[in-house]
Symmetry: C2
Subunit: 328 residues, 2 copies
Amino acid sequence: MIDELRALKQIKERFGENSKDVAVGIGDDAAAVSTNPENYVLATTDSQVEGIHFLKNTISPRQLGRKSIAVSVSDIGAMGGTPKYILATAGFSENEDQTYIDSFMNGIKDAEQEFDVKLIGGNLTAADKFFVDITVLGEVKKEDVVRRQGAVIEDIIFVSGTLGDSSLGLKLLGVNKDRNNGDSFLADKHNSPVPRLKLGSELARKKLITSMIDISDGLLLDLGRISVDFGLGAKIDLDNIPTSKQYRKFISEFCDDKYELALSGGEDYELLFTSPKKNRQEIFSLSAELGIQITEIGNITGDKKLNLIIPDATKKEIGKRGFVHFSK
Amino acid sequence: MIDELRALKQIKERFGENSKDVAVGIGDDAAAVSTNPENYVLATTDSQVEGIHFLKNTISPRQLGRKSIAVSVSDIGAMGGTPKYILATAGFSENEDQTYIDSFMNGIKDAEQEFDVKLIGGNLTAADKFFVDITVLGEVKKEDVVRRQGAVIEDIIFVSGTLGDSSLGLKLLGVNKDRNNGDSFLADKHNSPVPRLKLGSELARKKLITSMIDISDGLLLDLGRISVDFGLGAKIDLDNIPTSKQYRKFISEFCDDKYELALSGGEDYELLFTSPKKNRQEIFSLSAELGIQITEIGNITGDKKLNLIIPDATKKEIGKRGFVHFSK
């Protein structure tokens, strides 16, 4: 058993130095390499392993096929880019039959159409447990690329959508699919996440923001990745964390702390980004134009830690915490 | 359990149509997409799963790290291209400790230097069994790209190096590491294959060849992929199949048919290519220049099957056969 965060740190140290054509290497949502004077090719990879990332009794093969691509194109969106090509490796065990695979492929087809991407290659293998590993190639204008690094003190911190729905949906799926009385909102947020591609590319194209990341490991952990990792801090107001009415309805059944999954649940695939104060109005205009909720949750600070302002007016300092598959 | 070849056929049917910027899609050694007027970006992915592709007691983690990249860059070479960037997904189980992982990373580092490639991204996950999935991005001048399709009747069929060593080496490793009395040639061919990158790119740059593939699933299966798959056939002379003296020494201990592993053993990572007769001399000159054995093994025919000319002068028609991990 290894520690994922420690291993990632080690990998960044050993492989992190960039070469001439590598504008963004290890340690961001996607890598960016220069292949022509105007654009970068963006590349990112992500995997779904049965028993680790999903259970067959809570997600259909078609949803899984689509989701495996959705979560990877989300990383391209978080760089301000547009996904274009997919390579897919699937490891099938003795437990998947032709029907399962057909349905999984339908999900890949769904994703091709929904995200306007093209499957260009891949690999099939046998495996003990079903897994899928997706590489997405995308592109972005060089002048538009947005990195995790870039925020400055006093920048506003924004987040799209609502947080915690996906992880709460997973808990609902785990205990009883019909628990939420026919309302599949939370389960759908888990099984069929919608990456914010248009929002990411528009924020980048309009040069409104200084840093961006998609929230895959929980708000707090990913917030640390755009602030603490670069010697900065963040102050966020718990009262401002956007949650859905469905989240507020069910959270108390699973967690004593009503903020827990919104802060650290993971798999939100919402965008977390920072901007100078002067761009606030334009960001809210974009929110209205795209019909996507954008919420101001706090500010970048200089004190290298995350501060949460809790509604009862006490101030609590917390470490980075989040949902890390590896610590399971 | 699914049939890999059938599934691949189905995937080609469902996802095979190419779009404007996709010069080569599913079904070749690597995909080629247009990102600038002169070059294609090449992309390919391959995986190694413990218990399917390797056993921990026959390959060191350092060899495995290097090999996982070697076999993927080989696909880029088979398109006439040059590998440039790597994305690596590693799934670690509870059985790998920090020492194993450090050593595995040393192998990745070895490959970076040996093949002049750069790790730009990746992903760590938990898994039941250790696996690694490597995506390689490369580039090739548009005018130089070589595909599986392109051979014409009467073209000469060439192969680099010697065949069957890798699969025979695996058998030796399986029974007893020291069986070959201190000569690790065959085992090394299995654990530390050397992709023919320079040969592939030179054949392409000099416009000497009409089709090319790297032999990963055995000569016969891969020969079918550059001939039978496109309505052509091939006639090859068994006497001409290049084998090493170590192969000839040990093959009879494992196989009644002394050609078996040379024809169908798999994991050779030698280049199989075709050229017009007029280029024969220039190809042998290149062989001498690079110090790489190149052997003429037969000709492309028009009869949509593979014909083997067997030394006792009978002619035997065979189906496509080869080593397919999935049929295990």
